[in-house]
């Protein structure tokens, strides 16, 4: 394969990086010849971060684990992974155990999952130190303190006696880093280490990472689905699709001049800056396994030609530092992606539909309020976005409006009438007006009900105007509107993908003919390419029917492109609430500014974060 050692200088294999060559992984349960990852090659060099990007199922995590020889009993790994001249994949488990934790480290996705909940964190740090470096006593303690300092945690002995449940998410991830870096490894593999963390925490940890990499000359593989984040911190970038690398090269080049249609689309979806135009999601779903006989993206590609479907496509060098797997890479430089104008809301925008009046929620035994004195209005056809980090109370506000929090304080008025706090006490018309769509498509639909059953419930309950013999056609109609095949009506949720399930949830909501749609992080559990489809759907359907939408999300970009008014929440209270465009271009509150700065946007290095953030991770929360 051409261009093997293109990153860094020639003859660098003596240096302690990782050279992965022709890595292939297949699950033993697959039919023979069916692979999950195929012929992957990349290099990790000291002092450089290699970002591996892709959506769920593309094989990036599988690659990361396989690259250090840690495949499981269910997988078959072939190829090689050279570290200091030795092929990791040929070593015995004992030999690998010598290297793991000492010279090669792995940081997994959720820190709280990689740290044992019943062992004090000090011991967790100490174990690899004792095992690999034989440290004990004073030297051990010194090293532990040193590590705490390195990850910017207070160097306090007390801290070492605490357990994981006594730390916040950000602190835990720092601790996980400390454990991984304890023996000063030369290679560090990170699998989505900041996913699930708040945006501000994520920014700080990414910065920390970069500092460590620079000072210690470590080679890093950073796996993530967040292209914007990777564009900020990685030096080299690889885009994975269906178990193969679609494009890779130096980050600046890949971001600045993307050549693979998938990369272009992904980049377009990762930057929601324009609220006037909508980039639709990529139609279809990615193939579940490696596709060998043609281009794996061909079926979803806008620029597909006959040659794409005829032969397998190889990685070719576009420049010395840029490889692409596409036969049309040369002629697609300024190719335009389809976008359509945002549908505008319809209806009288002066009429106030919903008034949220000083609602407060305090759970029994909780130290503080989850929601305090939150007020805002919703007009007919309006779109209000509520943003905030975890714990800000934004989802709780929606739950109160929906009647799921009976002990809330304050009032919610619908068209002037105060709503009873408990959904059971509300009249059918009231419930019909407010429909809720949830975050997690896995739990939002009853797994034992068929799609027809699921959709019939709101139909029977809220649409007595539709007689029994017309119900089937109503169902068919809504399935078409959410672009799902009518055959799915007889299927069960487990037969559908996440995006498809979410579409059923949306259909269920709209079927009731509501006036207000409450969306609770409806895209957070979905891949970027599917998110766009869902947003499109919500946009179109709400505009068509004049339905007002309250859209809760932690994703600023999404809210910015969708809502006309944005409400920013922190710790249960409203920080700022204005017209979206004004809020994002000239935020009046410092917290809003913090949030906006912390959100990774394509191609910018997060240098501004340093000055904007207070070092709040140094607070030791004792529970």
């Amino acid at each position: 394969m051409r261009g093997l050692n293109w990153i860094g200088t020639e003859g660098d294999t003596g240096a302690s990086g990782l050279e992965v060559r022709n890595l292939s992984v297949r699950y033993k349960q697959n039919a023979s010849g069916v692979y999950n990852v195929s012929n992957l090659s990349f290099s990790l060099r000291p002092g450089r971060i290699f970002g591996l990007a892709g959506e769920s199922g593309c094989g990036k995590s599988t690659t990361a684990i396989a690259a250090i020889g840690a495949g499981s009993v269910t997988t078959e790994v072939s190829g090689s992974s050279f570290y200091r001249g030795t092929d990791l994949l040929k070593l015995s488990l004992d030999q690998k155990r010598e290297l793991w934790g000492k010279e090669i480290s792995y940081v997994s996705q959720s820190a709280s999952l990689s740290l044992h909940p019943s062992i004090p964190v000090g011991k967790l740090i100490a174990h690899p130190l004792k095992r690999h470096l034989n440290l004990s006593g004073g030297t051990l303690r010194d090293r532990q303190m040193q590590l705490l300092g390195m990850v910017e945690l207070p160097q306090d002995e007390e801290l070492l006696n605490r357990f994981t449940f006594q730390f916040s998410g950000g602190q835990l991830q720092r601790l996980a880093l400390a454990v991984a870096l304890a023996c000063e490894p030369k290679v560090v593999i990170m699998d989505e280490p900041t996913t699930g963390l708040d945006v501000t925490t994520q920014a700080k940890i990414s910065l920390l990472l970069k500092r460590i990499v620079d000072t210690k000359d470590v080679s890093v593989l950073y796996v993530s689905h967040d292209l914007a984040l990777l564009s900020n911190i990685s030096d080299d970038l690889g885009i994975m699709y269906a178990g193969q690398i679609a494009e890779y090269g130096q980050t600046a080049e890949v971001i600045g001049d993307p050549r693979h249609p998938y990369t272009k689309w992904l980049l377009g979806l990762s930057s929601h800056t324009d609220d006037r135009y909508l980039l639709p999601g990529i139609p279809g779903v990615p193939p579940p396994h490696v596709v060998r006989d043609k281009c794996s993206f061909a079926e979803r590609c806008l620029y597909v030609r006959e040659e794409c479907l005829a032969d397998p496509v190889e990685l070719e060098a576009h420049s010395e530092t840029h490889m692409v797997r596409c036969v049309r890479s040369r002629d697609l430089d300024r190719a335009l992606l389809p976008s359509r104008p945002q549908p505008q809301a319809v209806g009288n925008s002066d009429e106030i539909l919903l008034e949220v009046d000083k609602i407060s929620v305090r759970y029994p035994m909780a130290p503080r309020y989850s929601v305090k004195d939150v007020s805002f209005d919703l007009r007919r056809g309006q779109r209000v976005g509520i943003v905030g980090e975890s714990g800000s109370g934004k989802s709780t506000v929606l739950n109160v409006i929906a009647g799921l929090v009976p002990f809330a304080g304050g009032k919610v008025r619908l068209k002037g009438t105060t709503l009873p706090k408990r959904s059971k006490d509300r009249s059918r018309d009231m419930s019909k007006c407010l429909q809720l769509v949830f975050q997690n498509p896995d739990t939002a639909l009853n797994p034992r009900h068929s799609i027809t059953n699921i959709l019939l419930r709101p139909l029977k309950l809220f649409r007595p105007d539709i007689p029994a013999d017309m119900r089937q056609s109503a169902l068919n109609e809504i399935m078409e509107q959410v672009r799902l095949p009518i055959e799915f009506l007889n299927r069960f949720p487990r037969d559908l993908s996440g995006g498809q399930r979410q579409r059923v949830a949306i259909a269920r909501a709209f079927l009731a003919d509501p006036q207000v749609l409450l969306c609770d992080e409806v895209t957070s559990a979905l891949d970027v390419s599917v998110q766009a489809t869902i947003m499109e759907l919500i946009s179109e359907m709400s505009a068509e029917r004049g339905v007002a939408v309250i859209f809760v999300s932690h994703d600023l970009g999404l809210v910015r492109s969708f809502a006309s008014t944005t409400v920013v929440m922190k710790d249960g209270m409203v920080v700022e609430q204005r017209d979206t465009r004004e809020l994002f271009t000239a935020p009046s509150q410092s917290y809003t500014r913090e949030l906006i700065l912390a959100t990774p946007s394509l191609g910018q290095q997060n240098r501004r974060i340093d000055t904007a953030m207070p070092p709040s991770d140094n607070v030791l929360v004792v529970r």
Partner: protein, 333 residues
């Protein structure tokens, strides 16, 4: 600078555990009281004459019944009888048997030592072998050894205890003749070593009773624990096989294991009853069965109370161990 929020930090670990234990003991004491009331009610709701009749038989005169009622204090009213009984229990006096007219406490204190020995021996053997077997299988789930052993365990687990006991009996007593047939005989007249032999089979039966259940649960929890992300992470840090298996995986398995072991031990208490009866072993278990058959309500009440106390001891011990193993519980989360 470290800023401390919320002030639970000051409480020492010891104090926390002591608090939890105290709470549990109080709760259990209340339960014990309720059990005593229910037991007493169940055993004594019949009219005193009926009680007399069930002990003495049908062919008795009314004078004999009256005499029986008087001598056993059955003519006092219900609440009085309960109170006098329960206060007697606290003082160590378990009443007088309706049949043998001996103090129940005397009979019980003889028997209880023996029963305890058998039970503890059997429990210790059963739990240890169960745990070891479970850990052994847990790390090899799906392998051939695993499947074969799991089937064997399943078969044993499906057996009623008396069948296991009978199987052992037939094998070792009838067929091989290693052990004496009449345990009670040995206790009254035999030497120390003869008496000791009599403990072995009942204890072994109890162990076999516990072994499959403990092994099965350990196996499942171990298999889950081995796959837990923080155990996999430990492996990826190069920590040794032993360290990963015991310090990481088993530690998290242990907490949920202990509750199940506790439940099984409680069940084993009732197993003791059957086993003793089967082997003719003179412990509290056979005492209970005889008493029920004979209609001796006083003895029945007493033995049930004793069993209840042991159940409580087991439950409280399990609670204590759980608190020690699970740091989260110490902080009142």
């Amino acid at each position: 600078m470290v800023e401390v929020i919320a002030g639970h930090q000051a409480d020492s670990r010891g104090r926390r555990i002591a608090n939890t234990i105290f709470q549990r003991i109080v709760a259990n004491a209340i339960v014990l009281l309720i059990i005593s009331a229910v037991t007493f009610a169940l055993m004594n709701f019949k009219a005193p004459e009926d009680l007399a009749r069930s002990v003495l038989g049908r062919e008795v005169s009314s004078e004999q019944i009256a005499a029986f009622v008087r001598s056993n204090n059955l003519d006092a009213n219900f609440v009085e009888r309960y109170l006098s009984w329960i206060s007697g229990v606290f003082a160590g006096d378990l009443g007088t048997s309706l049949i043998t007219r001996r103090a129940v406490s005397a009979v019980v204190s003889d028997a209880i030592g023996r029963s305890l020995t058998v039970a503890m021996l059997g429990a210790f053997l059963g739990v240890c072998s169960g745990v070891l077997a479970g850990v052994f299988l847990g790390v090899r789930v799906g392998s051939k050894t695993d499947i074969r052993m799991v089937t064997a365990l399943l078969v044993i687990a499906s057996m009623p205890e008396f069948l296991i006991g009978i199987a052992l009996y037939m094998l070792f007593v009838t067929w091989l003749g290693w052990f004496p047939t009449q345990a009670a005989f040995a206790f009254s007249f035999g030497s120390a070593s003869e008496r000791a032999m009599n403990y072995i089979l009942p204890a072994a039966t109890i162990a076999l009773l516990l072994l499959p259940h403990v092994a099965r649960v350990t196996r499942v929890t171990m298999a889950e624990a081995i796959d837990a992300p923080y155990v996999v992470a430990a492996k990826l840090r190069g920590l040794s096989q032993v360290q990963t298996k015991w310090n990481y995986a088993f530690r998290s398995a242990a907490a949920s294991l202990i509750s199940v072991i506790g439940v099984n031990l409680v069940y084993a208490i009732s197993g003791v009853v059957v086993v003793e009866y089967l082997f003719g072993f003179p412990g509290v278990g056979s005492l209970l069965v005889e008493a029920i058959g004979a209609g001796d309500s006083v003895t029945v009440q007493a033995v049930i109370m004793i069993f209840a106390i042991f159940v409580i001891i087991i439950n409280v011990s399990v609670d204590i161990i759980i608190v020690i193993l699970n740091p989260r519980l110490r902080y009142g989360t």
